[in-house]
């Protein structure tokens, strides 16, 4: 029991359960199958995005270009299918390849120059988003194959959408990666203390590049999932990812300075954020109040989860010294 109490996700889990019960007492529609379906969809999409950022937080860096990569892949994916009439599978593969390449560029430049990833990804954010706009000239692609649309909308059974399959697999794989593989452990070690892990013999090059490549791949998957969901490839996909991508891991107890992330707690963080924004709609909050509520909720959520590690967090910085 006490081991359970120590887990990052425990407090969040409680908040989620009690919050959901409370909401459904007031608004029974909250647990209607359709609402659960909608909730699962929004969680699925954000989950992938949050994981994409989380792995970079793990190594103590930031990836500002997650949204730009997601957007670039989304329009490439749909563009290939619409303009070049490519079939789905090769388009998906090329999409993944683009994500991988973007991630590799981020990681390679970061580790080879020693410049903060924040700066590098700020620059590549412009580059990737610029390519996106240059290619599309702000025009969406509409020709999405039926199979893709189906995947984005159909339900497996009950309220469970097909779309959750991939995010669930990703979450499980991420958990294994961060908790049961050397690569994941080395990433965390690196995030904890760069100098020490280098002295131990952990290769920075490998760790940083792998983390960014995985981040790029996840962002790519996120972009393509959004295409399935929206059933069109608009150049704006990814524009709104940045803040939620940080909010979920951080609400889940991640320390921005690196070395501490929790996959399950991050997932719970995503669910919490989704429930909050849904609750704002369900309770018909006056649009002029929505922003204010959202702000206080974020603060409250973090505060509840953070209270017990108040001391450790007190003065940790976003960026570790190098």
């Amino acid at each position: 029991m006490s081991a359970l109490l120590k887990k990052d996700w425990f407090g969040l889990g409680l908040v989620l359960i009690f919050g959901s019960i409370l909401i459904s007492l007031f608004k029974p529609a909250f647990i209607s199958p359709f609402n659960l379906y909608v909730l699962m969809l929004s969680v699925s999409l954000m989950l992938v995005v949050a994981m994409s950022q989380m792995i970079i937080i793990a190594i103590g860096q930031m990836n500002l270009s997650v949204g730009a990569i997601g957007g670039l892949v989304a329009i490439s994916f749909t563009g290939l299918m619409e303009v070049y009439s490519m079939s789905i599978l090769p388009a998906v593969l090329i999409g993944l390849l683009i994500g991988l390449a973007c991630g590799f560029i981020n990681g390679y430049i970061t580790v080879k120059t020693g410049i903060s990833a924040f700066i590098i990804t700020l620059a590549t954010l412009y580059i990737f988003k610029g390519m996106n706009l240059g290619i599309t000239e702000a025009q969406p692609f509409y020709e999405i194959p039926e199979a893709v649309k189906f995947f984005g909308n159909a339900k497996i059974f009950g309220p469970i959408p097909y779309l959750v399959i991939i995010p669930i697999i990703i979450t499980v794989l991420m958990w294994i990666l961060m908790n049961r593989t050397s690569l994941g452990r080395y990433m965390l070690a690196y995030g904890n203390n760069v100098q020490s892990s280098e002295l131990i013999g952990i290769s920075s090059t490998k760790i940083v590049i792998y983390a960014h490549v995985i981040s790029g791949l996840l962002a790519a998957i996120g972009g393509m999932l959004v295409v399935c969901r929206l059933q069109l490839g608009t150049p704006n996909i990814g524009d709104s990812w940045l803040l939620p991508s940080f909010a979920a891991p951080v609400i889940g107890g991640a320390i921005l300075a690196g070395g501490k992330v929790d996959v399950i707690a991050t997932a719970f963080g995503v669910i919490l954020v989704s429930i909050i924004s849904q609750a704002l709609v369900i309770f018909k909050i006056d649009p002029f109040f929505v922003q204010i509520f959202l702000g206080f909720m974020i603060l409250l959520a973090v505060f509840i989860n953070r209270y017990r590690e108040y001391r450790e967090e007190r003065r940790t910085k976003v960026f570790s010294d190098e």
Partner: protein, 502 residues
């Protein structure tokens, strides 16, 4: 063919602004314990880092078993059978002890996933060899500094290498831990043909376990592979500092019937201190002895307002005071604290020497509109920096580029400059070479002669006995004894240890 397992010839290593090693030679015999000595900044750690592939030398060659090698990463050195305990702590603080020990070679199950049961089992083995009673699942950040150090050594042993490099492994160990460690090292050499390089500033230790000695001075060899039997303490010191060791001046006498300056009365704290009573008299050096983990640092931090005092009083000149923060302590009550953890709490490593040395005096020096410039600060701190013989290319040098000992000097210098009435000095000579150490000792005495009252925390018994006027012993967050120091080592040490083991 030579019987050297490791040989370094004419190694030169340049850092921006510093020549850390200058044609240095080093030879390690099989099955020997080889002391690598030198003042702070002599280049010892640099040499170790070249051997382990952390740095590449600018010139010179490295031979391992008579084969020329050059390691471009720590991994390569490790695979070639060299393990190391660096001067800096290198544990991953949020990982468990077991995982840290096994980190370079985490055991996997048949699915290729890490098997944490084996991790715990395997690491337990090494903890047992070190006679360390730690659960492998403990998170490192929950350990005391001493335990961390021992875990580092266990980690190095777990690689079962033939060459073991230990850079100041005993700096935060208690005498008992050190004794255990030495027994283990001797066993390793005798039974498993391990060769060891041992860096330390404690010469007693060197004479206790080492066979050969290499001394570096300013990056050059002052002597190379000298037999320990050919040396004595005086000779060794002369090799290291280029002149004879100075004997500490004798100490004045304190009138213990005087009123006390600072009085702690029945202090209980959040951290678990029980009913602490202490008094410090004017001009006195009050020693606070205890094994590592006795709660001395924590007591001082509570006094400085960093942690909560639940009950009890602090009196200054018989008036009750409430210290809210170190700022309060410094500015209102003229109390200062020299931290034991210079990297985390003592210095701002990324800033230059001048701003580190001047940080405590800015408030006093500021002119109208809070104006302050470098030369004002320089004039104030220069005498102290000079006095401590800080070895730095300039006042603009970034502190993290100084050697450990020189860093320590800076963290002392800034409190000298601040001119406080009461100074808490916590482990001032950990990792400090003997020359500087004796300077520091002199300085502490001089300060007290000039009227500064000092509470000195040290785990170094000889240091305690030569400096303190009165020694208070702490154990488990309680005061367990008080002795007036008569500067007789045998008597005092047995009386103190008696207090502890009562």
């Amino acid at each position: 063919m030579s019987d050297y397992i490791l040989e370094l010839n004419n190694i030169t290593k340049n850092f921006p602004g510093v020549k850390a090693l200058d044609n240095a030679n080093f030879r390690l015999k099989k099955k020997s314990i080889h002391a690598l000595l030198g003042e702070n900044g002599a280049g010892k750690s640099t040499l170790i880092k070249i051997i382990t592939g952390v740095y590449n030398q600018n010139e010179g060659k490295l031979f391992l078993n008579n084969q020329e090698k050059s390691f471009s990463s720590p991994n390569e050195a490790m695979n070639a059978g060299i393990s190391v305990v660096h001067q800096e702590r290198n544990l991953i603080r949020r990982f468990s002890v077991g995982e840290n020990l096994m980190l370079t070679n985490l055991p996997k199950n048949n699915l290729g996933l890490i098997d944490y049961n084996t991790v715990a089992k395997e690491s337990k083995k090494w903890l047992d060899i070190m006679e360390l009673d730690i659960d492998p699942n403990t998170i490192v950040s929950d350990l005391t500094v001493a335990k961390m150090q021992l875990c580092e050594i266990a980690k190095a042993l777990s690689l079962e290498s033939k060459i073991l490099l230990l850079d100041e492994p005993t700096s935060s160990l208690s005498p008992q831990d050190t004794k255990n460690l030495f027994a283990l090292l001797k066993r390793l050499v005798a039974e498993q043909d391990v060769s060891i390089v041992f860096v330390s500033h404690k010469l007693e230790e060197v004479f206790e376990i080492c066979d050969e000695v290499t001394v570096l001075r300013d990056g050059k060899n002052a002597c190379e592979s000298e037999q320990i039997t050919n040396l004595n303490r005086q000779k060794l010191v002369k090799l290291m500092i280029g002149r004879d060791e100075q004997i500490i001046k004798s100490k004045k006498n304190i009138d213990f019937t005087d009123e006390s300056l600072l009085d702690l009365q029945s202090i209980n704290t959040d951290l678990g201190h029980k009913n602490i009573n202490l008094n410090l008299k004017k001009g006195e050096i009050l020693g606070l002895y205890g094994l590592v983990g006795a709660g001395r640092t924590e007591l001082i931090k509570c006094v400085l307002g960093l942690d909560k005092i639940n009950s009890g009083q602090i009196l200054l000149n018989n008036k009750e005071i409430k210290i809210k923060s170190p700022k309060d302590a410094l500015e209102k009550y003229k109390i200062g604290y020299i931290s034991e953890d210079r990297k985390k709490e003592g210095l701002i490593l990324m800033h230059d020497v001048l701003s580190n040395a001047g940080i405590t005096v800015w408030s006093n020096l500021k002119k109208i509109l809070s104006f302050l410039n470098d030369s004002i600060v320089y004039n104030k701190v220069d005498p102290y920096v000079k006095q401590l013989e800080v070895k730095t290319p300039s006042y603009q040098q970034i502190v993290s580029n100084l050697s450990g000992g020189n860093q320590q000097k800076i963290s002392v210098a800034k409190w000298l400059a601040s001119g406080t009435d009461i100074l808490f000095i916590d482990e001032p000579t950990v990792g400090i070479d003997i020359k500087t150490k004796s300077y520091l000792h002199e300085l502490i005495i001089e300060l007290s002669l000039k009227g500064t009252s000092i509470i000195l925390i040290t785990s170094d018994m000889p240091e305690m006995i030569s400096l303190a006027d009165r020694i208070i012993t702490m154990k488990d967050f309680k005061v367990v004894g008080e002795t007036i120091n008569n500067h007789n080592y045998e008597e005092m040490s047995s009386s103190i240890m008696g207090n502890i083991h009562e």
